[in-house]
C-alpha cells in the first residue's frame, strides 16, 4: 500500500471518528454537565457547550487550523497558509497523515479543540457571564490551545523532543483542567456551592455518549483504520470500565453505598487517563491506569478541593486535570514498544521518557494556567466576568436567556 496515497479505509474511519468525537461535546458534555447543575441553570450550562462547539468550528476553518497544523515554523507555530481553506481542494491530502484528505484531518482536529474548551465550562457554571464566555472561547482556543496542539501534534518542539500524547492527555485534558482551575478561582465561589444534581439521568446519558464517542477520540487518533487503532480501542474500553469499578469500590469503602454519579465519574476519569496512553500501552497497562486513576481524582475532589476552598463547580480539575496528569505520567511508565514503536516507557527500559513527559506536563500547566489568568483578568476589567448577585440568585436561564428549562 502506498503510504502517501488516499486510503479509502482510513478515510472512512476518520469520517466516522470525527462524527463520534462531535457527539462527545454536543450533546455528551452538555448533558453530562447539564444534569449536575440546579434546574435554574440547566439551559445556560447546555448552551455553554453548544456555543463553544459553534465558535470553535468557525474560527478553526478561518485561521486556527492553519496556525496549529500548518507547516511548522521553528517548532513553535504553524505557518498559517491557506486561510479560510483557500487553495485546498477535495483531493489535497493531510501532510501529517497522508492517507486521508486534509479536510477530514482538519475536521478531526477541530472536534478536539471544541471539546477541550467546552470542558472548561464545568468549572464556572452558575456564575460566569455568557457574553464573557463568548469571548473567552475564541481567545482561549487561539492563545492557549492552538500553540499547545501544534507543539505536541503539529510537529512542534514537544513532538520533536519525544513527548508522548496519543489522543490528548495533556493537550486536551490537563490543558482544560488547569484552565478550569484558574478560571474558577478567579471567578470566586458561587453563593450555593452544593452539588445537588437536578437530573442525574441526563448526566448518565451524557457520560454514556462520552464513552461511546471516545472510541473515535482515541482509536481515531491512530489516523488510520489499522491494528494500532484497534489496540487503542480495546485499551480505552478496558481503562474506562476499570475506572468505573474502582470508583464504586471507593464509594462503598467510604460511605457504604455505591453511587451512580460516582460510577460515571470513575468512567470519565478512566477515559481521561487512558487518552494519552491508549496507542502505546498494553491491555494490562490500561487496566492499571484505569483502576488507579479514580483514587487520584477522588482524592482531589474530596481532600484537595475542600482544603483549598476553590469552587470548581463540576470538578473539571479533579477529573480532567488530575486524571490527565496521571495518564501523561503513566504513558511514560507503561509505553510498550511492541504496541507502538514510537513509545518506549520506563518499564521497558527508557527512563528518559519520564523526563519528556514531565517537560510536556510542565509546559502545558504553565502555558494554560498563565494565559488563562491573563484572559480572565482582561475580560474581567473590560466586559466583566461574573454575573450580578441577583442574576445568580434568580438562576442564569431566566436572567441571561429569558428561558426556563422546565414548565412542569
Amino acid at each position: 500500500m502506498d503510504p502517501t496515497a488516499l486510503n479509502s479505509g482510513d478515510t472512512a474511519w476518520m469520517l466516522i471518528s470525527t462524527a463520534l468525537v462531535m457527539l462527545m461535546t454536543v450533546p455528551g458534555v452538555a448533558l453530562y454537565y447539564g444534569g449536575l447543575v440546579k434546574k435554574e441553570n440547566v439551559l445556560n450550562t447546555l448552551f455553554m457547550s453548544l456555543i463553544a462547539f459553534a465558535i470553535t468550528s468557525v474560527i478553526w476553518v478561518i485561521y486556527a487550523y492553519q496556525l496549529a497544523f500548518g507547516t511548522d515554523v521553528g517548532g513553535l507555530i504553524g505557518n498559517g497558509a491557506n486561510l479560510f481553506f483557500n487553495g485546498i481542494t477535495s483531493a489535497t491530502l493531510a501532510p501529517l497523515a497522508p492517507t486521508i484528505p486534509i479536510t477530514i484531518y482538519a475536521a478531526f482536529e477541530l472536534v478536539f479543540a471544541a471539546i477541550t474548551v467546552a470542558l472548561i465550562s464545568g468549572a464556572v457554571v452558575g456564575r460566569m457571564k455568557f457574553k464573557a464566555w463568548l469571548l473567552f472561547v475564541p481567545l482561549w482556543i487561539t492563545i492557549v490551545y492552538v500553540p499547545i496542539s501544534h507543539w505536541v501534534w503539529g510537529g512542534g518542539w514537544l513532538a520533536k523532543l519525544g513527548a508522548l500524547d496519543f489522543a490528548g492527555g495533556t493537550v486536551v485534558h490537563l490543558d482544560c483542567g488547569i484552565a478550569a482551575l484558574v478560571l474558577c478561582i478567579y471567578l470566586g465561589s458561587r453563593k450555593d456551592v452544593r452539588l445537588l444534581p437536578h437530573n442525574l439521568g441526563y448526566s448518565v446519558i451524557g457520560a454514556a455518549l462520552l464513552w461511546f464517542g471516545w472510541f473515535g477520540f482515541n482509536a481515531g487518533s491512530a489516523l488510520a483504520a489499522n491494528g494500532l487503532a484497534s489496540s487503542a480501542f480495546l485499551a480505552t474500553n478496558t481503562a474506562t470500565a476499570a475506572g468505573m469499578i474502582s470508583w464504586m469500590i471507593i464509594d462503598i469503602i467510604k460511605t457504604g453505598k455505591p453511587t451512580v454519579l460516582g460510577a460515571i465519574t470513575g468512567a470519565v476519569c478512566g477515559l481521561v487517563a487512558i487518552t494519552p496512553a491508549c496507542g502505546y500501552v498494553t491491555v494490562t497497562g490500561a487496566l492499571i491506569i484505569g483502576f488507579a486513576t479514580s483514587f487520584f481524582s477522588y482524592y482531589a475532589m474530596t481532600w484537595l478541593k475542600p482544603r483549598f476552598g476553590y469552587d470548581d463547580s463540576l470538578d473539571v480539575f479533579a477529573v480532567h486535570g488530575i486524571s490527565g496528569l496521571w495518564g501523561a505520567l503513566a504513558t511514560g511508565l507503561f509505553a510498550a514498544p511492541f504496541i507502538n514503536s514510537l513509545g518506549v516507557g520506563l518499564f521497558y527500559g527508557n527512563p528518559m521518557q519520564m523526563v519528556w513527559q514531565l517537560i510536556d506536563i510542565g509546559t502545558v500547566v504553565v502555558w494554560s494556567g498563565g494565559w488563562t489568568l491573563v484572559l480572565a483578568y482582561v475580560l474581567d476589567k473590560t466586559i466583566g466576568l461574573r454575573v450580578e448577585p441577583e442574576e445568580e440568585r434568580e438562576g442564569l436561564d431566566i436572567s441571561l436567556h429569558e428561558e426556563s428549562g422546565y414548565r412542569i
Binding site: R194, L196, T255, L261, T265, M301, T302
Partner: protein, 113 residues
C-alpha cells in the same frame, strides 16, 4: 357547619386515598404537590463523597371541604389508607370554614359542597 380537612400524605399514597374517598361519596378534592419536613428532618444524599442533608421532602397535600357530620368518616378513610406506620406518613389538619360558594350557580353553604 363546614370543615376543611387538609391532609399531608406520601405522594405514592395519593391514588389509594383518592379512590377510598370516592367510595364514601367524598368526591371533591384539591391536590397539590408540596415540599416539607416534619420531625425526621429529611434524608441525607451523597454526591462525589460529600453528604448533603435534603431537609425538604416531596409530599402531597389534599384539601377537602366536608359537612361537619362527615368529618370523622373522611379522617378514618385517610388514616386507614395513608398509614404505613413508618416515619414520614404525614399529618391531617381540621379547621372550620365560614362559607362555601359554588361559582356556577351561586349556591352557598352545605348545598355548595
Amino acid at each position: 357547619m363546614l370543615k376543611e380537612i387538609t391532609a399531608i400524605i406520601r405522594p405514592d399514597k395519593l391514588e389509594e386515598v383518592k379512590n377510598a374517598l370516592a367510595e364514601i361519596q367524598c368526591k371533591g378534592v384539591t391536590v397539590t404537590e408540596v415540599k416539607g419536613r416534619g420531625r425526621q428532618l429529611g434524608v441525607t444524599e451523597s454526591y462525589r463523597g460529600r453528604d448533603y442533608k435534603v431537609d425538604l421532602l416531596p409530599k402531597t397535600r389534599l384539601e377537602i371541604i366536608v359537612n361537619d357530620k362527615d368529618t370523622d368518616d373522611v379522617i378514618d378513610i385517610i388514616l386507614k389508607t395513608a398509614q404505613t406506620g413508618d416515619i414520614g406518613d404525614g399529618k391531617i389538619f381540621i379547621s372550620p370554614v365560614d362559607d362555601v360558594v359554588r361559582i356556577r350557580t351561586g349556591e352557598r353553604g352545605e348545598k355548595a359542597v
